[in-house]
């Protein structure tokens, strides 16, 4: 492999970040430079397709031990790079128009470049510490971009929430990395499997438990980053960021990094290992539950981006579930297709929001099909892919996951089927309410079609959304089940999913066509199953803050007051007793003196 290109791919965005921050932010060149770098990385990613190899340099060396920054190129990473840079390029271009009037434009593009650097690092990493490093860095970039409009309370809070929630996941991730290091003796992916085999051979009785625990710890990282229940709460809030950011980070790439990482672990440790681990069931169930709960919550959201955010959660749940069924390649394929169509949907919603003067409530839109037909068309393509209309990319990938669930004979298959019905339901609701019917607000009335800088990315992504399931495109997917073909077979799985699709669409259409306001109101779903309430009120407000206050009190009272103050007072008290002896009375002195003499004589003579 050519050594220069991958390093360039990794460090070009960093250089651009630095240049933007240090020099270019005052000149107005920052956006252009960032877009150019996105283009360049996309070209590099395309050039690297099909190459394999590794390269590394020591980042921290202590004696024989060293932590490396290394690059591992294989089908998985190059394919993932294509997704990252492809969506990245589209989003960069789209942002040029979307953020045109924003005064923090330079900061925004700096953040985007920073994100591209971090994401590239995760994808190319050849060892766990490097993964962790960039894992944290994407979190940081995401923090920057969610909080782009930092003067808005909600944006600032959302950014903080995203970072901290991810940190909680990383808590487990770090432990998992450390344990895996202990078990296999290595941090580099390529060297782990022999270590694991040796461990397995040496500890036939306990290895399942230990490795399961380790994998679950690592999975915690994915739960945080890929926003699985119960750490999913940050992702809907993250919609406070600019919409292109949502498209790039919170739909297509960063949130998928959890799945990518899990799949990397799975291939590294060996799929047959995973088949024996009870941890796999936990992963699958977590994914399934997330998919279901998120889909349910999506049905009752009014904010266009939040609907999409919950949809993202739900689809990520699918992918995680696939990994849990040791069908990570199916998950990766879904990741690949999902990246395109979800980015498309987000950018489409961005175009809508932009056109409606930052109106995000779907009930205040309506009739947009007439105002902005091209956007509507692309959005419809995205919808079709998401709800898995046969022939679209989403159909092929989702089918594979359901297939895997079916093969495993798990009840999760029915959960997946339910989600497959819910997805068309809420997407139909969204489409019908936002694009069809009459416009229901000033903003929607004055909306007009967006410019070419936005439309071109939308169009390209729409093509990919529809076509990326076919073999001329899906061979670029990071991973693909070997027996996959792009023909549509009718079997029990596809039958059930077709039925689900039809039920969902029909229900959505019947319920929402022509409605002025939401005819259904399920408080539990609107309150997002009270997760946020539970975290904010119970965990943060009552538990964490109360705990902190109590500990603070004890710190002041016990340690500072009793221990330290007590010791001081004790010393002073003894001193005051001593001072009592110095009464000033000569007789008492003489008496004390005499007493002392007796004591001394006793001590000297009789002891």
């Amino acid at each position: 492999m050519n050594h220069l290109l991958p390093w360039l791919l990794l460090f070009l965005p960093l250089a651009v970040t630095a240049a933007n921050q240090l020099v270019l932010k005052r000149t107005g060149l920052a956006p252009i430079v960032s877009v150019a770098s996105a283009l360049a990385t996309f070209v590099l990613a395309v050039m690297l397709i099909g190459t394999e190899g590794t390269a590394a340099f020591a980042w921290a060396t202590i004696g024989d031990f060293h932590l490396d920054i290394g690059i591992k190129l294989d089908a998985l990473s190059t394919g993932m790079m294509l997704v990252v840079t492809g969506v990245g390029l589209a989003v960069h271009v789209f942002s040029l128009a979307y953020m045109k009037d924003d005064e923090g434009k330079a900061r925004y593009f700096t953040g985007l470049s920073m994100f591209m650097f971090s994401m590239t690092g995760i994808v190319l990493a050849d060892n766990f510490i490097m993964t962790f490093i960039f894992w944290e860095l994407v979190g940081f970039s995401s923090y920057l971009l969610i909080g782009h409009w930092y003067q808005k309370e909600s944006a600032a809070d959302a950014a903080k929430k995203a970072f901290i929630t991810n940190r909680i996941g990383d808590f487990g991730f770090m432990i998992g990395i450390l344990m895996l290091w202990g078990i296999t003796g290595h941090l580099t992916f390529d060297q782990m499997q022999p270590g694991l085999q040796a461990f397995r051979a040496a500890n036939p009785s306990i290895w399942v438990g230990v490795v399961s625990a380790t994998v679950l710890c690592i999975f915690c990282g994915a739960v945080g980053k890929s926003a699985q229940v119960p750490l999913h709460v940050w992702l809907p809030d993250a919609m406070e960021g600019p919409t292109p950011v949502s498209a790039l980070i919170h739909a297509a790439t960063m949130v998928a990094a959890g799945v990518y990482m899990l799949f990397r672990v799975q291939t590294t440790l060996g799929t047959e290992v995973f088949e024996q681990l009870p941890a796999s069931d936990v992963i699958a169930w977590t994914g399934g539950i997330t998919a279901l709960l998120a889909a349910l919550m999506a049905t009752q959201q009014d904010d266009i981006k939040r609907v999409l955010a919950y949809s993202t959660l739900s689809q990520l749940g699918y992918m995680v579930m696939a990994v849990g069924f040791v069908a990570g390649d199916a998950g990766m394929f879904h990741l690949f297709t999902h990246a395109w169509f979800k980015a498309l949907l987000f950018l489409g919603s961005g175009a809508v929001i932009y056109a409606c003067h930052h109106e995000q409530d779907i009930w205040k839109m309506g009739g947009l099909v007439k105002k902005m037909p091209l956007t509507t068309l692309t959005f419809a393509a995205g919808c079709a892919a998401l709800i898995a209309v046969p022939g679209t990319s989403g159909f092929f990938s989702k089918e594979l996951i359901l297939d895997a669930a079916h093969k495993a004979g798990s009840p999760l298959f029915w959960v997946g089927a339910l989600v497959a019905a819910l997805t068309p339901f809420y997407m139909t609701r969204l489409f019908v309410v936002a694009f069809l019917g009459k416009h229901r607000s000033e903003n929607a009335e004055h909306a007009h079609e967006v410019g070419p800088l936005m439309l071109v990315p939308l169009g390209l992504l729409a093509l990919l959304a529809l076509l990326s399931g076919y073999s001329f495109l899906n061979r670029f997917s990071p991973a693909l089940p070997e027996d996959h073909s792009d023909a549509i077979h009718l079997n029990i799985v596809s039958g059930i999913s077709l039925v689900a699709l039809i039920i969902g669409v029909l229900a959505g259409w019947l319920l929402y066509a022509g409605k002025e306001k939401d005819p259904v109101c399920i408080p539990l779903l609107r309150d997002r199953f009270k997760f946020d309430w539970f975290y904010d009120t119970i965990l943060i407000h009552y538990f964490q803050n109360f705990l902190a206050a109590v500990i603070h009190f004890f710190d002041e009272f016990l340690i500072n007051g009793l221990l330290v103050g007590g010791l001081t007072r004790c010393a002073e008290g003894v001193g005051n007793v001593f001072r009592r002896v110095q009464s000033g009375n000569l007789q008492a002195y003489a008496f004390a003196f005499g007493f002392g003499v007796i004591l001394i004589i006793y001590l000297t003579v009789f002891i």
Binding site: A60, T61, F134, F140, Q151, A156, I175, I206, I551, H552
Partner: protein, 477 residues
């Protein structure tokens, strides 16, 4: 040559006493010293650094001797020089108190340099104490808020800690029969019972100086009240003396004794990380929060020390401790320096009063953001390198077969501290720089160009070590 580095601040201090312009002299001396320290750190292997030695007492032999027994001293000297320059640059003396202000900063610097460079135990201890005196005085005289109470507290705590430490050191010197730290190991293995006693005294003594739980109550109020350069120098540099001492003396000389105290030490360092971590969460003022956070982060360095105690042949732990000491020194100095800027700019340090400062002071927001991120261990900044090495060091002996040992369990619990520090740091950043601007912040001036220099100096160091830790690790070879 090394003596030159140590005594240059002292010479500048005397020059200031004799009437030389205080700020200029201090900056000049600090800058010159940084140059020398850089050179020294790069070439510490050269035997020329180890020759300075003046006998002050013939029998028992005590020498005023400086040298680099290993890279750790060189790194600490470098850290001191960097923070000193940043501290004197960012200091702003009250009218008419320049002499005191800059003089004591220089004296503090001299003490710290002497302590890290001394090879004789007597001066190792003595220089540290020399540095404490200006700390106490400055907090009491030029501090703010509850300065008297805070100064009194730090005086008493550190005074008592030093005396406990002295008892341990004297015991050690008595058993080894020499004050030369490099020759102490030649005396042979110390009796285990004595080791246990010495180790206990050293842990409490050094621990108090490093604000080991539960001897930490002095730190937060003192740093909150201290003038910026003193807070920077003490929290950044001088506090590390205790850890340096543990690594330099305790670990090589009383390993068995330390091992006997391992489990209590693990509990105490968890106290630092979790207990003080939550204390930090409930702070309402930035300065107190930073003070507590500095206490909390000491726990991680203690974790490295504990890992070194538990697994003696663990070069990872030693390097981790040094990297983290260095990184924490730089980052906390940066935080204290910038907190002072925030207060100067807005007139308040209370988290509830501030908000939206990022709009009117973007450069300040950027720099503080970097400092905050460094403090919560973001990769790319030096602290992360230290922390990750600490965690790896703690898992050094874990192989999966035999469950998690106490060190690993402590490490796992400590990692939760990473979450805690994100909670309070981001909350502070959120409350100060984000959200809508308030009356105090809407027209607050941004950090001036001259004030940016010290902050940038520290940021560059943080980034350099963070992006490529081998810069620092190569110095340790």
């Amino acid at each position: 040559m090394l003596a030159l580095i140590v005594f240059l601040p002292l010479a500048a201090f005397l020059a200031i006493l004799l009437g030389s312009p205080a700020r200029l002299t201090a900056i000049g001396a600090a800058a010159l010293n940084l140059g020398l320290a850089l050179y020294a750190a790069a070439t510490w292997h050269c035997p020329c650094w180890g020759v300075f030695s003046v006998p002050v007492l013939a029998k028992p032999a005590i020498n005023l001797a400086f040298g680099f027994p290993d890279g750790m001293s060189a790194v600490m000297v470098l850290l001191t020089a960097i923070v000193t320059l940043a501290a004197v640059l960012s200091g702003k003396a009250p009218e008419g108190r320049e002499t005191l202000y800059y003089g004591s900063s220089l004296l503090l610097s001299c003490g710290a340099l002497g302590a890290f460079a001394a090879t004789d135990m007597f001066f190792f201890y003595a220089f540290h104490e020399l540095a404490l005196i200006p700390t106490f005085l400055m907090i009491g005289i030029l501090g703010r808020g509850e300065r008297r109470a805070a100064a009194w507290k730090i005086t008493i705590y550190l005074g008592l800690g030093s005396i406990v430490l002295l008892a341990g050191l004297v015991w050690l010197a008595g058993l080894t029969g020499t004050f030369d730290m490099s020759k102490m190991a030649d005396a042979g293995r110390i009796d285990p019972v004595a080791q246990k006693g010495i180790a206990g005294l050293l842990i409490v003594g050094f621990g108090t100086l490093v604000s080991l739980f539960p001897f930490h109550s002095w730190a937060a109020p003192a740093y909150a009240s201290a003038p910026a350069p003193i807070a920077m120098l003490h929290a950044g540099v001088l506090k590390k003396f205790g850890l340096y001492g543990l690594l330099r003396l305790a670990i090589p000389l009383v390993p068995d004794g330390l091992e006997a105290w391992l489990n209590p030490l693990l509990l105490l360092l968890l106290g630092n990380i979790l207990w003080v971590g939550y204390v930090t969460v409930s702070q309402k003022r930035l300065d107190l929060m930073l003070g507590n956070s500095s206490v909390m982060h000491m726990g991680y360095i203690f974790l490295a020390v504990a890992a070194l105690i538990a697994f003696p042949e663990n070069p990872l732990a030693r390097s981790a401790a040094i990297v983290l000491m260095f990184a924490h020194g730089i980052s906390i100095a940066l935080l204290f320096g910038l907190a002072d800027r925030i207060e100067r700019s807005t007139g308040s340090i209370d988290l509830a009063d501030l908000g939206g400062l990022g709009k009117s002071a973007p450069a300040l927001a950027f720099m503080f953001g970097i400092a905050a991120m460094a403090s919560i261990g973001l990769p790319g900044l030096a602290n992360f390198a230290g922390e990750v090495l600490v965690f790896l060091a703690a898992f050094k002996s874990y192989d999966g077969t035999s469950g998690l040992g106490p060190v690993q369990i402590t490490c796992i619990l400590s990692i939760w501290g990473v979450v805690i520090s994100a909670v309070y740091m981001l909350r502070a950043y959120r409350n100060i720089f984000q959200g809508p601007a308030g009356t105090l912040t809407c027209s607050a001036p941004d950090i001036t160009i001259t004030d940016r220099i010290p902050a940038l100096l520290l940021i560059v160091v943080l980034l350099a070590v963070g992006l490529y830790p081998n810069i620092l690790l190569n110095l340790l070879k």
